[in-house]
């Protein structure tokens, strides 16, 4: 058997795990590991400019591929800088393995240089964490970390490694396990058959059904099965912000995103539905609005791999704990069997009436029906940027976003037909996510268009990564929708604080983004008018080997609508424009 040092074991185990990229930043506590990576490890390492970007880049890589991302950071500030990205991954159930260096074992607890209790600090935002106590444990611990991160409801796992454990002069037998078993961890592998039968009966008997599908469907590999089910039943499908792409947006059964900035027709259909199939969703507060007013007539079927998601906020009438792919397969079989054995199938006339109602909503206020924003303005509307981008990329780009108005416009106006194309921080709402995430996506898909939709607020939270893109030649397109304000903050201040824009603008302090991009060796483009918009987007996307920073000046007065009315509103209570409400 081979003898390796702890540091070498880390490098080798990552190779044996099939890791494609390591996103990281060296420092004192991980120098032995970095030396092992340098000497004999073939995994490309991406040196970011800030550890937060390492976690977001790994996260973007993962969201676009389904494969677990890997982050390597040093102790103390390296570890704490990674925290925001770990929390981001945790909230959106993204598998990630974060290796953090730690001070030498004998110094732990002594407030040593660059010491921080990483296991303690990260505890509420990880699926699990390990502290390595001896080098021999490294292979099994890394295997366990990948297993835990990717199975069940995925999530980030931290492995904290004291420096002395990785020292090069002590070698141990190395064998990477094929599999690991944990007695206290066994995620569900099948949904309960009886519950699934009950659910399908309720679903087939529905007169006003809605399928409410979320990020869990994407993560659980259930997109095709879900699409098959919805088409077979001819039922409307709405997606959460995290679920966009799990059902084709261009299918006529897609009624748009739901929730706080969801489509009018989606929110109305939910509110008036009699049966909701919630799958891979968690009935989160940005969807439900006021809990006791949520969908008053609906029987709730809730499918999720995580039992804690079920009946946490909204009580499920028919709970099903299980992986979405196996549950959807069982549901499809059950629909067929009901039809064949009992001649039970959906009430076509009732479903037709339901579609008529939904189509009326669509005709009146549907965002894709006709522009729901004023088009007589001189200034570019942010919605027009997304619509033009959608046309120019034919809906085939990988789109990452930051957080704020631009994120909501992107979610509303870019139509995702496939899963893993829309990459955003839904749960934590992390500004600064989009650009490093786009780096991870581009590294995984070098031949595809990768676009980061951002704003001048968010982009400045991780703008230093332009340097990383120079070093590794990562040609993403950054679409900076520049309205000179923290737009979503301003929108709330307009709506709820009588227009007092407290600290939501930068007083002419914004940099010249074009020059800044050029300073890093990239291409910068400034776009001021609607006439320039489409040609500029085409030009940017044609420069396949260049990072293009598009600084697009958009109308600062624009608000995101619809917007659910809170507090005390139901899903059906929405602002549709600055003056019109339901």
């Amino acid at each position: 058997m081979e003898l390796l040092s702890g540091g070498e074991m880390v490098a080798r185990a990552l190779e044996d795990e099939g890791v494609e990229f390591i996103f990281g930043y060296p420092g004192g506590a991980v120098l032995h590991i970095y030396d092992a990576l340098h000497k004999n490890c073939h995994i490309p390492h991406i040196l970011v400019r800030h550890e937060q970007a390492a976690t977001h880049a790994a996260d973007g890589y993962t969201r676009s591929t389904g494969r677990t991302g890997v982050v390597l950071v040093t102790s103390g500030p390296g570890a704490t800088n990674a925290i925001t990205g770990i929390a981001t991954a945790y909230m959106d159930s993204i598998p990630m393995v974060v290796l953090s260096g730690q001070v030498q074992s004998h110094l732990i607890g002594e407030d040593a240089f660059q010491e921080t209790d990483m296991v303690g600090i990260s505890r509420p935002i990880v699926k699990h964490s390990f502290m390595v106590k001896c080098a021999e444990d490294i292979p099994v611990m890394i295997k366990k970390a990948f297993h835990i991160a990717a199975s069940g409801r995925p999530g980030p796992v931290v492995i904290d490694i004291p420096k002395d454990i990785t020292r090069p002069d002590e070698k141990f037998e190395y064998k990477y396990p094929d599999s690991v078993k944990l007695r206290s961890y066994s995620p569900s592998t099948r949904g309960h058959t009886g519950q699934i039968k009950k659910a399908v009966r309720a679903l087939v008997a529905a007169k006003r059904p809605v399928i409410y599908a979320g990020g869990g469907v994407i993560q659980g590999g259930g997109s095709e099965l879900l699409t098959e089910l919805a088409r077979k039943l001819n039922y409307p499908v709405t997606n959460t912000l995290m679920g966009l792409g799990c059902f084709p947006a261009t299918d006529e059964r897609f009624i748009g995103m739901l929730g706080m900035h969801g489509f009018y027709e989606a929110n109305m259909a939910m509110h008036e539905s009699d049966v909701i199939l919630g799958i891979g969703v968690r009935f989160d507060d940005r969807v439900t609005n006021t809990l006791n007013k949520f969908c008053p007539d609906a029987t709730i079927i809730h499918v999720d791999i995580d039992p804690t998601s079920i009946s946490k906020t909204i009580a499920a009438d028919i709970p099903i704990v299980g992986p979405v792919d196996s549950v959807l397969t069982d549901m499809l079989n059950q629909v067929d069997s009901l039809r064949e054995k009992e001649e039970v199938e959906p009430d076509a006339a009732a479903i037709e009436r339901w579609w008529q109602r939904i189509n009326e909503w669509r005709a009146n206020h549907g965002l894709w029906n006709e522009p729901q924003y004023s088009q007589d303005s001189e200034q570019i509307k942010p919605q027009q940027v997304i619509e033009t981008l959608y046309q120019v990329t034919k809906g085939e780009a990988y789109v990452t976003s930051d957080v704020g108005q631009h994120q909501m416009f992107a979610a509303q106006y870019y139509r995702f037909d496939e899963p893993r194309r829309w990459i955003n921080s839904g749960g934590l709402g992390t500004m600064g996510f989009g650009f490093p995430a786009a780096m991870g996506v581009k590294l995984a898909h070098p031949d595809r268009d990768v676009v980061c939709i951002t704003g001048e607020g968010s982009i400045q939270m991780n703008i230093q990564e332009m340097s990383t893109c120079t070093q590794y030649d990562i040609p993403v397109v950054i679409i900076n929708m520049n309205n000179g304000y923290l737009g979503m903050v301003k929108q709330w201040q307009d709506m709820q604080y009588e227009g007092r824009h407290s600290q939501s603008t930068y007083q002419d302090s914004l940099p010249d983004f074009v020059k800044l991009a050029e300073a890093y060796g990239h291409v910068g483009m400034r776009v001021d008018t609607l006439q320039e918009l489409e040609p500029a987007l085409r030009k940017a996307l044609s420069m396949k080997d260049k990072l293009v920073f598009m600084d697009i000046y958009v109308d600062p007065a624009e608000h995101v609508y619809p917007m659910q009315i809170a507090p005390n509103g139901s899903m059906a209570d929405m602002w549709l424009s600055k003056t019109e409400r339901t």
């Binding site: 699990h128 502290m131 206290s184 961890y185």
Partner: protein, 163 residues
Amino acid sequence: MRRILSLLMENEPGALSRVVGLFAQRGYNIDSLNVAETEDVTLSRLTLTTHGDDRKIEQITKQLNKLVDVVKVVDLTEGAHIERDLMLVKVRASGSQREEIKRTTDIFRGQVIDVGATLYTIQLLGTRDKLDAFLKAVGEAQIIEVVRTGVSGIARGEKVLSL
């Protein structure tokens, strides 16, 4: 409603902090808690009392089960069970009170385990209610110091919490 949750968890550093952290993080209450090794050295058993409506308790149980270090969780209050809390209490005992305190201790089947010139240290074992009743009987004015282990519990009859 008050519940007694009993957990088997990996006897590893950090496991307890995950359980306690979960309660803090999600705004659940811990009324008492104790933890120690079991007959299997790789496992420790943690008993905690909490309160909340059925939905909250269900959510707490599910969240606990989700922790990777937690092997099993039972709600002892769902069935017949035995609970015990051990209390050590120092009480003022001088003059005529000395006899009275001793009598009260006997009634509650406690023991005086240490004696000072003006105080007794009493050990008492029982349910939470019994210990509360003893403290009330002795009277607040007499009590100098109270230390309780928190509730431990076990199911009655054949039911066993094990792997």
